[in-house]
């Protein structure tokens, strides 16, 4: 009775895709383009990334013993062992979140969010996939874009073209994520929310971190550099559309250690903002990594007479306990403005990130939020959060 169930799981998950993360520098992968169509990560992963996930990242516990890593890699395509042509690489993804706020108090609230449900196709043409087109569409189950009083739950998450014009030069154009800092998937992180890299649009609940953009990305053996010009998300209210540019540079201090810096300048009809940050990523043991990012945020609202300058910091540590199972420790700090009236917001997290079988990801995090300010003292807030990520 046990084997049919295992077999069912195996069949189901051996044909899924999943995201790769910047912390995978702990596996020796410093650059995202190894596994992603987008050189800065996020979005669908390529065939190599799928195989790597199956053979190196995911746990082996739920596989039948007779299935070797090599065989698991062969089965990691969208249709399992059946390879689709380069011009037809489909992907599907679901991400769900269970969130319990004010955990342990009478005001505790519990909600389930379907964060992402979408799919798409990537097509590669030419020698070594020189030309690429990709698109991802789907529902935003908790997010609804509101523009011109029309609600739109079905949106393109991203679509862009990529040309590998020269050996190490990549040109992109279309709807894509803005490039800045470490591309942390946690959209509640202080490195993503106050920086508006994952924000909720003013009139909606949609999480907007994509923009129509043009991008140049140079990847060499010892460094990576990117320049991106963006003009906002086409579905956002016009007044909220941020236009501007960003630049990012990362230098290798060894095979598995990277030091970098980012700058972003964005302007909408309501807000001008500038970001400047430094980042560091390193492998600390096999499958384990440490990441640090810290930066300044300058905001000036249209109606304000002066700008505010604040800062954010992020320290993330991932420790692989056994293959497929990681302990996560996070420390984050955000201060909206450099003055004593602006609280230091701290966010500590302790959690588990697991890949129990190929392309299935689960997370469980206990998060503590503490606000430190000179003229008062308040109790901590605790949040318990679980996530399931599945893609077909």
């Amino acid at each position: 009775m046990h084997f049919p169930f295992i077999g069912f799981l195996f069949t189901l998950f051996s044909v899924q895709t999943a995201s790769a993360y910047p912390q995978f520098i702990g596996y020796g992968y410093a650059t995202c383009v190894t596994c992603h169509y987008n050189g800065h990560g996020g979005g669908p992963i390529n065939d190599y990334g799928r195989a790597l996930w199956a053979t190196e990242i995911a746990s082996r516990w739920l596989y039948p013993k007779k299935v070797s890593d090599e065989r698991a890699g062969e089965l990691s395509g969208f249709l399992g062992a059946v390879q689709t042509p380069d011009y037809l690489k489909p992907h599907l993804k679901y991400r769900g979140l269970w969130n319990k706020t004010r955990y342990g108090s009478m005001q505790s609230e519990e909600r389930i969010y379907h964060m992402q449900l979408d799919g798409g196709i990537t097509s590669q043409f030419g020698p070594d996939g020189k030309y690429l087109l990709t698109g991802t569409w789907g529902t935003w189950p908790i997010g609804t874009m509101v523009r011109d009083q029309n609600v739109n739950r079905y949106l393109a998450r991203e679509y862009y073209g990529r040309v590998n014009a020269f050996e190490s030069w990549w040109f992109y154009g279309g709807l894509m994520e803005r490039v800045y800092g470490i591309r942390n998937i946690d959209h509640t992180s202080y490195s993503r929310v106050p920086t508006r890299l994952a924000e909720r649009s003013r009139n909606s609940a949609a999480i907007v971190f994509h923009s129509m953009a043009a991008m140049i990305h140079k990847i060499s053996e010892t460094w990576e550099g990117t320049f991106q010009y963006f003009i906002g998300h086409p579905s956002e209210p016009e007044d909220d559309q941020q236009k501007g540019f960003s630049a990012k540079y990362e230098h290798s201090l060894g095979e598995t250690m990277r030091l970098g810096a980012s700058f972003l300048n964005a302007e909408s009809k309501n807000l001008k903002s500038r970001l400047l940050g430094v980042e560091f990523r390193t492998k600390i043991a096999e499958g384990s990594s440490f990441m640090f990012e810290s930066g300044l945020i300058e905001d000036k609202a249209l109606t304000a007479t002066r700008s505010s300058i604040g800062s954010y910091s992020l320290l993330d540590t991932y420790i692989m306990l056994v293959r497929g199972y990681h302990l996560k420790l996070g420390v984050e700090r955000y201060n909206q403005e450099f003055n004593s009236q602006s609280p230091d917001l701290w966010q500590w997290s302790l959690g588990m990130m697991a890949f129990p079988i190929n392309r299935l990801e689960t997370r469980l995090d206990l998060i503590q939020r503490r606000s430190l300010i000179s003229n008062s003292s308040s109790d901590d807030e605790w949040v318990l959060r679980g996530q399931v990520h599945v893609s077909l």
């Binding site: 600390i284 420790l329 420390v331 430190l372």
Partner: protein, 202 residues
């Protein structure tokens, strides 16, 4: 439940004895690890304590928050039978806040300096050559006196001497440079304790 200062001192004496009994018990099961060298850590620490403000028969509960720098020296205690445990000795200094202006009694104390020390024996659990998990109970002492202009007002928070239960992760960034993160809780009249920072192996 809040303890008075006198009772707190007595209770802490008991905890102190218990703590050292536990430490010595742990010492005989702890493994001696090559990774455990002497080191000095420079950390940022924060914790909350339960606060009670009293005027006559009226009292109000709140929180006091502590944050500051923690300079710690780490060593290893070895026994003849080869067993050992790690011990952290450190000083903590920083600023604390208590109360809130929106409370009924309206007590607020801003930027009150505090100074203290901490001793934590740890059981080491080795993950790999560069990563070490540590678990242990410790003692934290901090000296702070909440001042009031109103003589009828009594303000107490936590306990001068308290027990902390901590989990710690330490990992090497370079040959002699390491980072550590600690999470835990104060055992009595307190809340979560955490610290993080960098260290250097001697």
């Amino acid at each position: 439940m809040y303890h008075s200062k006198q009772r707190g001192f007595f209770v802490n004496k008991i905890y102190l004895s218990l703590l050292f009994s536990i430490c010595f018990s742990f010492a005989f099961v702890a493994e001696a690890l090559e990774f455990q060298r002497r080191g000095t850590s420079f950390l940022y620490s924060s914790w909350l304590e339960s606060l009670r403000v009293t005027r006559g028969n009226v009292y109000e509960d709140g929180t006091a928050s502590f944050a500051g720098m923690h300079l710690s020296q780490r060593g290893r205690v070895k026994f003849d039978n080869g067993n050992s445990f790690l011990i952290d000795l450190g000083v903590i200094f920083g600023q604390a806040q208590a109360g809130s202006s929106s409370s009924i009694l309206g007590y607020v104390s801003e930027r009150k300096n505090f100074f203290g020390g901490m001793i934590t024996p740890y059981i080491p659990l080795r993950h790999s050559k560069t990563i070490l998990f540590k678990l242990g109970p410790g003692l934290i002492y901090r000296s702070t006196k909440w001042l009031t202009e109103d003589p009828a007002l009594t303000v107490r928070s936590g306990a001068d001497l308290n027990v902390v239960v901590l989990g710690n992760v330490e990992f090497q960034l370079a040959e002699r440079l390491y980072m550590e993160q600690t999470v835990g809780t104060l055992a009595f009249n307190g809340r979560a304790f955490w610290s993080f920072g960098i260290g250097y192996f001697w």
